[in-house]
């Protein structure tokens, strides 16, 4: 159904729909490099989503890719990321839809990474084009209201810029806090690490260790990350003189 009302194209390519009177067009791009909340550059194939909100307030996503506020809508999400940015893309939207008639449209960078032994892979969308795992979302630039002036439905707005602060996707209320059940010191390739054994993890959240010099352990977040779900997972954190206390957080 969405394909009937939304058409997407790279701006550089030939695109017939922009000329059609029944479509309004909106273009987006980011200059890059876009960053995840942990400071890593966005991976190729990462998803961006065109999100419509009736009231201009996006309440965020659940970890399964659905909207926290059912009134919000992920119009389309695709693995657009290339070379750490959202390439110039034009959306052509049928003017007789709510997306043009009301509300706001905005682009969000999604974090769909899952981690195995610190290696990240984007989970993207499934065969039906649905998001299956969203760790966080970050708004790209300003929301844009698509307007239709008079009888000439040809409004065009462009937005470009950087990605703002990420908002962690909402987890189900019954997800437990992770529990550290063991702490050991190990050597990996000659380097000293603290190894935490962690229980009570779930398969739809990523975990990492944060260390510090006090019980608050509010210093740097370690590079090692894993998606939970197993009976226990282990996470490594560099052993330094400045980090004597550790906790597991959601990455």
């Amino acid at each position: 159904m969405k394909k009937l009302v939304i058409a997407v194209s790279a701006i550089a390519s030939a695109f017939a729909l922009t000329a059609a009177e029944e479509y309004a067009s909106v273009s987006f791009q980011t200059t890059g490099p876009d960053k995840y909340a942990d400071g890593e550059t966005v991976l190729d194939g990462e998803c961006y989503a065109l999100v419509w909100t009736a009231d201009g307030v996006f309440e965020g996503l659940n970890v399964d890719g659905t909207c926290v506020d059912p009134a919000d809508e992920v119009v389309v999400a695709l693995p657009w990321a290339k070379d750490g940015a959202f390439p110039a893309t034009q959306f052509n939207i049928a003017t007789d839809t709510k997306y043009v008639a009301s509300g706001e449209l905005a682009i969000y960078l999604l974090d769909t990474r899952k981690f195995v032994d610190g290696e990240a892979k984007v989970s993207g969308v499934n065969a039906e084009g649905k998001l299956v795992f969203v760790n966080a979302s970050s708004k790209v630039d300003e929301a844009v209201t698509v307007s239709v002036a008079g009888s000439a439905p040809s409004a065009k707005a462009a937005a470009s810029g950087a990605v703002e602060g990420a908002v962690a996707s909402a987890l189900p209320a019954d997800v437990p806090a992770p529990k550290v059940t063991g702490l050991d010191f190990v050597k990996v390739n000659g380097a000293d690490y603290v190894k935490l054994t962690v229980a009570d993890t779930v398969g739809f959240a990523n975990y990492a260790v944060q260390g510090g010099d006090s019980v608050a352990a509010d210093g740097e977040v370690g590079k090692d990350a894993k998606t939970g779900g197993a009976e226990s997972i282990t996470l490594l954190y560099p052993k330094t003189a400045d980090a004597n206390f550790f906790k597991v957080i959601r990455k």
């Binding site: 703002e164 909402a170 987890l171 806090a177 992770p178 529990k179 059940t181 702490l183 550790f246 597991v248």
Partner: protein, 231 residues
């Protein structure tokens, strides 16, 4: 203006959520200046075990790192009977092996009958003796849920006590105590509560903020009257 408000609201929500998702903290406490007498160090138990509930006894083997210790180092854990300890010996595999029950009187250690339980355990806020030539001791475990002192009852006579957190040094001046109560550190330093407050027994000087019982270090407390201390 409206947009600023919206963004601030969303971020605040995310931050609150992240806080709820944190695990229990765990940590490492390195004690490098424990007062020592005849290679005996009085060590505090500032941690809970990982799998234990707060306040329950902690297996010493779970929290005391044996790196840096030597085979045949000894561990003495109070049994609850005056002057009596369960003694453990460190084997070549780094395991604490039950040795025997001993009675200590002054500098004399007498082996008694009975065998200590397999798992040497001490509650958070308790203390144990470690006989070793090592210059530092490392403890790792789960700090108390809150970094606040805990009330601890004391009864008339001697008892081994320890600060209950891994971060708070206990100022001697802040101990409630009754007149004639004594604090005895393992290096022999003594403090006594007098009508005008705590004093160093040797110098008769009133204690200052520098007179502290560091986290991770145990001490003797001789109570002249039953009471409660905040440790």
């Amino acid at each position: 203006m409206k947009k600023s408000f919206i963004i601030a609201t969303v971020l605040a929500t995310a931050s609150a959520f992240a806080g709820q998702f944190e695990s229990n903290p765990v940590g490492l406490l390195t004690l490098s200046s424990i007062p020592t007498t005849d290679n005996l160090k009085l060590v505090a138990m500032p941690f809970d075990g990982y799998a234990e509930t707060s306040g329950s006894s902690v297996k010493v083997a779970d929290v005391l790192l044996t790196d840096g210790l030597s085979e045949n180092d000894k561990l003495y854990i109070p049994t609850g009977t005056k002057g009596q300890y369960n003694r453990y010996s460190l084997n070549s595999s780094g395991e604490w092996v039950p040795a025997n029950v001993v009675t200590v009187s002054g500098a004399t250690i007498t082996a008694g009958s009975g065998t200590p339980p397999n798992d040497a355990a001490v509650p958070r806020g308790g203390a144990f003796w470690l006989e070793t030539t090592a210059t530092s001791v490392k403890l790792l475990g789960q700090p108390a849920a809150t970094m606040e002192k805990t009330s601890k009852s004391v009864s008339v006579g001697y008892q081994l006590l320890a600060p209950t957190t891994s971060e708070i040094n206990v100022k001697v001046s802040e101990l409630a105590g009754a007149q004639k109560d004594l604090v005895i550190l393992a290096n022999g330093t003594r403090y006594q509560k007098t009508a005008s407050g705590w004093k160093n027994v040797a110098t008769r000087a009133a204690v200052t903020d520098a007179d502290v019982i560091p986290a991770g270090i145990g001490f003797w407390y001789k109570a002249a009257a039953a009471g409660t201390l905040s440790l």
